[in-house]
Symmetry: C2
Subunit: 136 residues, 2 copies
DNA sequence: GGATGTTTATTAGTGTACAAACGAATATGC
DNA sequence: GCATATTCGTTTGTACACTAATAAACATCC
């Protein structure tokens, strides 16, 4: 049987990612990208943490998380401070504005997931998410 | 129930993409990226086509396909020519080197797909790929 | 307490990915 | 046949994503 690009997992994953990004951007009203959204929600979950740890907990390398933190700071959603016990660290935490949009972010995220998974039935979504997680 | 980033389809898709890229790079010996690989295989499938059509058939916008074509050309895998019937078009086709590595590319792609899907059983892979395609 | 190694953050370079704007060439409608 | 619309390619700007190199701070071992 002939080799076909359209059957390659990497290619299909890329297409699925594109569709998700499209759904995300359609609903986004806070001017966030999917990556910025992930980092911001994670900060909400963790309370406050070093920039380095935030990168590890959101699967972004040091160069990527640096840029994301810079842009979230510029947009006013987070604040940065020095770690009194470790001069290497930059401590990242939510600003007042960041805290105030957290509920809105969760609603927004749920809507994006819902619409992205719309082609699948509720039972299928469960199975699909389980299998997708095993590929990470 | 609390909102959790680790359950969001967009976040998990990003992680799956990262793992695939890691598998791809581990096996890659021709110096290609996943995107360059996709474009090159597609050119092999189509014979020759305009840069614009190649972009549409690989889901890359005009700016992205431009860069990919530039790099594939620099690496010697493709050649560019003018379309005699339409002066707007740049015709893209495989170089002799590009043709000579096509079998190797297919073997390589099959190995990457195999290893990326390794956590799933053969039956699960079928189901998973079907569902993933519906999300594109 | 001093050499060694690790962690944290920054920077530079390369490669996707998309939006927007532009000019040139082609197609369509009337 | 001419105005209008569409297509094709390029460029600019922003945002991930990774590698590699660097420097400062911290930890550990002896």
């Amino acid at each position: 049987m002939a080799y076909r690009l359209d059957e390659q997992i990497g290619y299909i994953l890329r297409l699925a990612n594109q569709r998700h990004a499209s759904v995300f951007n359609k609903h986004s009203d806070l001017g966030l990208t999917p990556t910025q959204f992930a980092a911001l929600v994670r900060i909400g979950e963790m309370g406050s943490c070093s920039q380095n740890l935030l990168g590890r907990r959101t699967a972004m390398d040091v160069a990527t998380i640096k840029g994301v933190v810079t842009r979230l700071k510029a947009k006013g959603f987070i604040q940065l401070s020095a770690d009194p016990g470790d001069k290497r660290r930059t401590v990242v935490s939510l600003s007042a504005q960041g805290q105030s949009v957290m509920d809105q972010l969760h609603d927004f995220g749920a809507r994006v997931t819902e619409e992205t998974l719309a082609p699948l039935s509720p039972d299928e979504r469960k199975v699909f998410l389980d299998m997708l997680k095993r590929l990470t």
